[in-house]
Subunit: 263 residues, 2 copies
């Protein structure tokens, strides 16, 4: 950020952990942040983002145009827009997950593996794929999406950026971006294997298993890749399956729905 | 283990993660394991331990003598007893937590810190204290115990191994050992600072905060040190407070009690 940008502040869309990441970075850099977040985001995420000192502006996922609101606020206040996925620096940051995977896989003696990543706009998936292409080229990255929000899976089949027909209707609230980022899609297409699609119920089961076995708190979308590994391992090739669990912004009522699955 | 010991199998008392650790190690070494566990242990812990292939023998915390049962079974079947805390190798294993703390503290530029550790028989506390005495000598380790089961805190005041007056009555089911290990107590006394005592309610709050902020699943006793840090920071000296969260064997009903604290 230039001194001028820093003085005026930044604005970002909430995507996965992006909201809190941007809010945190803004605070560390002594600037202000506005975060646009869908009204149905977990209360916990809204509270956490505000705790980092950000101004949270809520919008209606079905009826508002996030891009229009963001562009207007950015123009009015001179804010710098940080996109959640179609941004090289954001993708580079998310690629550090891939670097960690490569490092840990070497320790475990794993080289050929399927790497499943929860996918929305495609930033995390592309970042991981780029890192692994460099560091662990025998791994294949697969995006995982919620049923009915499988635009990337379909896009990898058709070769074009497909668009979801709806904007809401899954508990995976961070995986509902209508289509993959324009800038990143060619990279994603070049580097990734086929996508996998999971149901909301699969994600709740995966959250319960993450609680039970891994002692980790995952939000529904954060557990999507784990859900694919647990339900579709017969369809996944590779010596090992590596799963990215990312995102723990889940309200206690949703978490209790997952725990109820343990019986 | 000698070939003869391996052929006959091992027996261990359940203490913290010790049950599953021993069951796992037994399986990896191709031998059998018997785990003595209090009847009120979390169902999840019993199930997990059995999943590792161990035979779980349940006893009554209030009325049975665990040591007598263990000694009898060991004698009858020729099993090798692995104690949960008063064993040099177990303490060395638990000391790896201290090595990790020292490593991470260096990365963060922290050298003077209070290190809070959930304490029952004292194995984890002693292991961490020994590792830090070698690697980060400006850190002071403090045991944390549940109210009414604060034998170690009282022992550090009196200089003698005090004994809890009851055997049950806290949700911190892994922190109820009646007194510190005989072998380790002199080490613990030499290296540790004062103890801290937390209520069951403090532990539930800490579990909720671990869920909310850290995305970690902790059992009540596993969250005891975090509970002390959250409720008694005014009484804790040092440039930083480092907390060990250890143990995530918690049934979903108990976890829901903690989540309910978030409101």
């Amino acid at each position: 950020l230039s001194p001028d940008q820093r003085a005026k502040g930044i604005i970002a869309y909430s995507g996965g952990n992006h909201a809190q990441g941007v809010a945190f970075v803004a605070r560390e850099h002594g600037t202000s942040a506005v975060i646009l977040m869908p009204r149905d985001a977990p209360r916990l995420k809204i509270a956490n983002t505000r705790d980092f000192g950000a101004e949270v502006v809520l919008y209606d996922r079905d009826n508002d145009d996030r891009n229009a609101i963001g562009a207007q606020m950015a123009a009015e206040r001179g804010l710098t827009l940080i996109k959640p996925y179609d941004d090289k620096q954001v993708i580079a940051g998310q690629g550090t997950v891939g670097l960690e995977i490569a490092e840990q896989a070497v320790e475990l003696g794993v080289s050929k593996a399927a790497v499943l990543v929860p996918c929305s706009g495609g930033g995390l998936t592309t970042g991981v794929a780029l890192a692994l292409a460099a560091k662990a080229p025998d791994m294949v990255v697969h995006p995982v999406e919620p049923a009915r929000f499988d635009d990337v899976t379909r896009s990898l089949v058709s070769g074009n950026r497909e668009i979801n027909s709806r904007r809401s209707g899954s508990i995976c609230d961070t995986l509902l971006t209508p289509t993959a980022g324009e800038m990143l899609f060619p990279v994603l297409k070049k580097l990734c294997g086929r996508g996998y699609v999971v149901s909301d119920d699969d994600c709740l089961d995966a959250m319960a298993q993450a609680f039970f076995r891994l002692k980790l708190v995952a939000e529904p979308g954060g557990a999507a890749a784990l859900a694919a590994a647990l339900t579709q391992s017969d369809d996944i090739t590779g010596d090992a399956i590596i799963v990215v669990i990312s995102g723990g912004n889940v309200d206690s009522d949703m978490f209790q729905r997952a725990l109820a699955k343990l019986g």
